[in-house]
């Protein structure tokens, strides 16, 4: 079967143990400069609080650290190696100029408490990126403070709650579609709301308006909606959804996880959304870094302005400053001003694109997803025929007849040199294959992916067991996750 694989070849990788296993007393990777002040006696300065030793902290040399991480790095798949079609995660190219500018001395070295008079440049970055994001979303104002998407959701719900409380309306419920990300209900719960699920229309995957009308009462604070939703479908009745909510005084919160399908083509602020978060690590290309850092600004309409987290960046007399005097504010959601380094990267991305580039980016993302859809829909089941935007969701219905599930196809895809798509999500599609190519893929790479997916579909027919046993060519095979969960080993211990 190996001759079917076009993208990758077998390759030698180095073995590497844990750093602790390389440690040996006396090895060093550092050198301190000479102390230029009088010595102190640690014991007499710290007394009983003085530390005796540092246990099993490693002692290694610099070359060993370089090799250690370089070897480890070769065991990872990455966007820089190839297509990473994880649906909903938006694994797009992370430009290197973003990394470069975020490390410039006056930016990377700025202390969060340095005087405002000496921070006008770093504050201007915040101001400029905020203006761009407000324009892109069609909103009136924004907070950059939330550290990630889920943190943005929390901030958004706290804003809704503060706004309603100020009006004397203690509403208890948040409506969440059954297709939503897990963070939505988890966030609603930590903001003290009851979660009520709403069913999607079984044919279109959109919000069922008649059902929504029944569920929206005076007790509903908001609907949290992802648009396009997790099926990659743009909700055509979005304005009706907003009208139904607004008629009862409820708010429309948009999870901006899929904003990369809309930038430059349509604006949530124009189609009735009251507030939303953005994931700078998705739409605005800040690196995922193996699982963070993210950044989750919340853009909103004017009525939320008094409640924004403190401090709020304001421009006054030609100077920028932070306004801490916000009596109606929900308070801080994290210290200082947010994941600042991500604002720098997002702004650099926006400047590299300009209005035309942002629009073309969105168009290419949608083009790529639809190309995959067109080329695979005869071999994989397409549960929702509604038009796709930036991602396409198939199901494993045809393959399960041979006992092969979405997770198995995903593992086999690894052998073909691709990162798997998102498996088993959204939950409303049993056995989902959620594929998001992003705009960063060339036609050549897409064709290789399509070829791989078609080839796997053929393998499922010819030799399903081979697919079930995948991956075959990775450094390590499938992991014993059951053993890991039953008897967790969460740290290294000396033998």
């Amino acid at each position: 079967m190996q001759n079917r694989i076009k993208k990758v070849s077998r390759h030698i990788t180095q073995n590497e143990g844990l750093i602790f296993e390389k440690s040996s007393p006396g090895k060093k990777a550092y050198k301190m400069p000479p102390l230029d002040v009088p010595e102190v006696d640690v014991k007499s300065v710290l007394g009983d609080s003085a530390r005796e030793d540092l246990g099993h902290m490693p002692e290694v040399s610099e070359i060993e650290i370089i090799r250690h991480f370089t070897r480890l790095s070769t065991w990872n798949y990455a966007i820089d190696l190839g297509m990473y079609p994880l649906g909903s995660c938006t694994m797009k190219y992370n430009a290197r100029v973003n990394e470069f500018v975020s490390r410039l001395e006056g930016i990377g070295g700025a202390h969060p408490y340095q005087p405002e008079s000496l921070s006008q440049g770093v504050m201007q970055v915040m101001y400029d990126v905020a203006q761009c994001l407000i324009e892109i979303t069609g909103m009136d104002t924004i907070t950059l403070q939330p550290a990630a998407g889920a943190h943005g959701e929390m901030t958004g719900l706290l804003l809704i709650r503060a706004y309603l409380d100020a009006k004397g309306e203690a509403r208890k419920k948040i409506l969440i579609p059954d297709s939503a990300h897990g963070t939505n209900p988890a966030t609603a719960a930590i903001c003290g709301y009851e979660v009520e699920n709403i069913k999607s229309d079984p044919v279109t995957g959109m919000v069922d308006i008649a059902g929504l009308e029944r569920q929206v009462t005076e007790d509903v604070a908001a609907l949290m909606l992802t648009n396009p939703n997790t099926l990659g479908v743009f909700d055509q009745h979005i304005h009706k959804v907003a009208d139904v909510l607004h008629a009862k005084g409820a708010q429309l919160y948009m999870d901006g996880a899929n904003m990369n399908a809309l930038v430059g083509k349509t604006r949530p602020g124009d189609f009735g959304v009251d507030l939303m978060h953005l994931n700078l690590h998705k739409t605005f290309s800040t690196p995922h870094g193996g699982g963070g850092p993210g950044s989750g600004p919340v853009a909103c309409k004017k009525h939320f302005e008094p409640f924004l987290p403190t401090p709020v960046l304001v421009s006054k007399d030609g100077k920028l400053h932070f306004d801490y005097d916000r009596p109606q504010s929900i308070g801080r959601v994290r210290m200082w001003y947010g994941n600042y380094g991500m604002f720098v990267r997002a702004l650099a991305y926006i400047l590299a694109n300009g209005p035309d580039g942002l629009k073309q980016t969105t168009e290419d993302a949608v083009l790529n997803a639809n190309y995959i859809r067109a080329k695979l829909q005869d071999v994989y089941d397409l549960p929702y025929k509604t038009p796709s935007m930036h991602e396409v969701i198939f199901s494993d219905r045809l393959q399960t007849q041979k006992g092969v599930k979405t997770g198995d196809i995903a593992k086999r895809l690894i052998d073909y040199g691709f990162h798997p798509y998102t498996t088993s999500f959204p939950l409303i599609v049993p056995g989902a294959l959620m594929i998001e190519p992003t705009e960063s893929e060339s036609k050549e790479e897409l064709d290789l992916f399509i070829d791989a997916m078609r080839s796997i579909a053929a393998e499922v027919e010819e030799d399903p067991q081979y697919v079930l046993d995948a991956p075959h060519d990775t450094r390590v095979g499938r992991m014993d996750e059951v053993g890991a969960a039953r008897k967790p080993i969460l740290r290294w211990n000396p033998k």
């Binding site: 996750e481 059951v482 969960a485």
Partner: protein
């Protein structure tokens, strides 16, 4: 194919209960353990907790799923099977004997609404074809 003991009663949420006098011993069915897959963790209430019929009293976890466990009857928990916290795999190995809690039954009437083994087997067969 596991059998379902004739002296047990069953719920639609796939728990079993064995009643001896006023004490009910509760676990999950073989069908439940099979559909959950490898069980990695069980969360049980403390002794003395009041449980209510049709309400959840604990959870079972596989690697990627959490399921609530519902009580077939109402009453007070008198014992829990401590062994399951270190060896949850016993449920996969022998669900009929891997009991979870023992309950002093306060509402004997509810028992009559539970299924017997034959009815339960019929129930899971129907559920499977849906």
């Amino acid at each position: 194919m596991a059998s379902y003991p004739s002296d047990y009663r069953f719920t639609k949420e796939h728990e079993w209960i064995k009643i001896e006098g006023s004490t009910g011993t509760i676990g999950i069915t073989d069908h439940a353990q099979h559909s959950l897959g490898d069980i990695v963790y069980v969360e049980l209430p403390k002794v003395g907790t009041e449980v209510k019929a049709h309400q959840t009293f604990g959870t079972v976890e596989s690697v990627k799923a959490v399921s609530d466990i519902f009580s077939p009857i109402s009453g007070k928990v008198t014992a829990i099977n401590e062994e399951l916290s270190s060896s949850p795999e016993k449920i996969n190995a022998d669900a009929n004997n891997a009991w979870m809690i023992k309950v002093e039954i306060s509402d004997a009437f509810a028992v009559s609404s539970l299924m017997d083994a034959a009815a339960y087997e019929e129930f899971i067969k129907e559920e499977g074809t849906r």
